[in-house]
Amino acid sequence: MKKFLNTADTYLTDALAGFAAAHPDLSVNLESRVVTRARGAVPGKVGLVSGGGSGHEPLHTGFVGEGMLDAACPGEIFTSPVPDQVVEAVRAADSGEGTVLIVKNYTGDVMNFEMAAELAGEEGRRVETVLVDDDVAVEDSTFTAGRRGTGATLLVEKIAGAAAARGDALEEVAAIGRRVDAASRSFAVALTACTTPSAGRPGFDLPEDEVEVGVGIHGEPGRRREKLRSASEIVSDMVDAVLDDRPLESGAEAIVVVNGMGGTPLSELYLVYGEVAALLEERGVSIVRNAVGDYVTSLDMAGCSITVCEAEEGFTDLWDAPVSTPGLRWGI
């Protein structure tokens, strides 16, 4: 395994310590593993908390800050946080207006956040949960744990964060977060497997001429393997998968995220975005906003995900609203 690290066991703490040193406007509790805004909860504002396994940076810790999250609780690598962490984060985020939990739909995340929500409730705190489940590689049926939460998490956290900053009430913030998730679909392809510090070797072996199609963000294998093809062929399949699941009519407006998995250079992501833009234009869909870069990663995996979110009433204004976090910043 080739990584900048000291020991596999200290990887996460060391990385969080560096994150803390780099961002004095955030406060990082290395003990409780909770990242909050240094200034604390914002009086009169609904709190926004998210978290999940680590290894997806900048998600979620990198999205704590003005206009987005109030607190994040990073779990072990690819392991959802424990209820204590989440409760700790809720306490830090709750100004009395209640807290929205943004949870990616994985069995572990859902169970741990549910337990945390119960505990927070027992403390008399109002908590609403927004489940993110945008990955169409997983059919949403009784034969699965349901669609995974992936690239759309960026959109949900930004847009719900802006709604909270604007002063929306608990139920309203949760509602718009759910609308964003409902309007979003994603699909991912991996060119290489990622290596977790503890495993020390790639999660799966992928021949030099094959790709994993329909992968998640935890290094798990995808739905199937395919021969590596041209970007235009791969992307057209990805866009089909996304739009077959949730068709967009000609004339529709969309926010598109081309998200790198961590090991893919920006120039490739732009190349992919160019293909997506052309395909959507063919279908008469106009992209009103876009984000191209590493947002929801999978350690050093080479690959990308494509997220298409129909820009419903109000989404773009909230997307454009000022945000100041390590991973996303404008207007401030």
Binding site: E76, I77, F78, T79, D84, M111, A145, G216, H218, P221
Partner: protein, 207 residues
């Protein structure tokens, strides 16, 4: 089962997941995200410390503390599941000693909790596929007057059997379900750790 045996059981699980950490991780890497070994090791190492540090009044106190520790240290799917299971079992064993049949009832309560929380049916390729047959075997032997070590050994064998049976299954719950047919042909990591949990009980009781 007395307090010391309960402690010995937790220590035996800790030793087992420490030893098989890699194997559990590889099983999880094949159809999941590869962290099950680390999760179990982290959780039970903490549980061993916790139950070692306490002076429990009851068998249940040991198991409840184990469950609470797992919940607060593991995360992922297995944390809440094993954690709640041990807590549910602990609730049922309020005395300093527990008859084998009482232990069986506690294990049944634990299984129920796993089913309730995770919603997995038999055959979904989860820990339930090792947990359920293990509990059945345990209560059967206990019901016919068997000793704890006998019941535990039967449970461990049944769990191993259940684990083996997960290989041909297609996962319907948890991460492995994302793979669809590709989950077929692999053992379920959680079923594998469950088999370790019951084998550890047999060892502790046999000693």
């Amino acid at each position: 089962m007395d307090i010391e045996l309960a402690r010995a059981w937790v220590r035996a699980i800790g030793a087992a997941v420490e030893r098989d950490r890699e194997r559990l991780g590889e099983l999880d890497a094949a159809i999941g995200d590869g962290d099950h070994g680390a999760n179990m090791q982290r959780g039970f190492a903490a549980a061993v410390d916790a139950v070692g540090a306490m002076s429990p009044e009851s068998v249940g106190a040991v198991l409840t503390k184990t469950g609470t520790t797992l919940v607060s240290k593991v995360g992922g799917a297995s944390g809440p599941l094993y954690g709640s299971a041990f807590r549910a079992a602990g609730k049922r064993l309020a005395a300093e000693r527990a008859e084998t049949e009482e232990v069986g009832a506690a294990l049944s309560a634990a299984l129920e909790e796993v089913r309730r929380l995770g919603g997995a049916q038999a055959g979904d390729k989860t820990m339930v596929d090792a947990f359920a047959p293990a509990v059945d075997a345990f209560t059967r032997v206990a019901g016919s007057g068997g000793r704890l070590d006998e019941a535990a050994r039967a449970a461990a064998d049944a769990a191993d059997e259940g684990l083996r049976a997960t290989e041909p299954l297609q996962a319907r719950k948890g991460r492995a379900s994302y793979l669809g047919e590709r989950s077929v042909g692999h053992l379920d990591p959680g079923a594998a750790s469950t088999a370790l949990v019951f084998r550890a009980l047999a060892e502790a009781a046999g000693a």
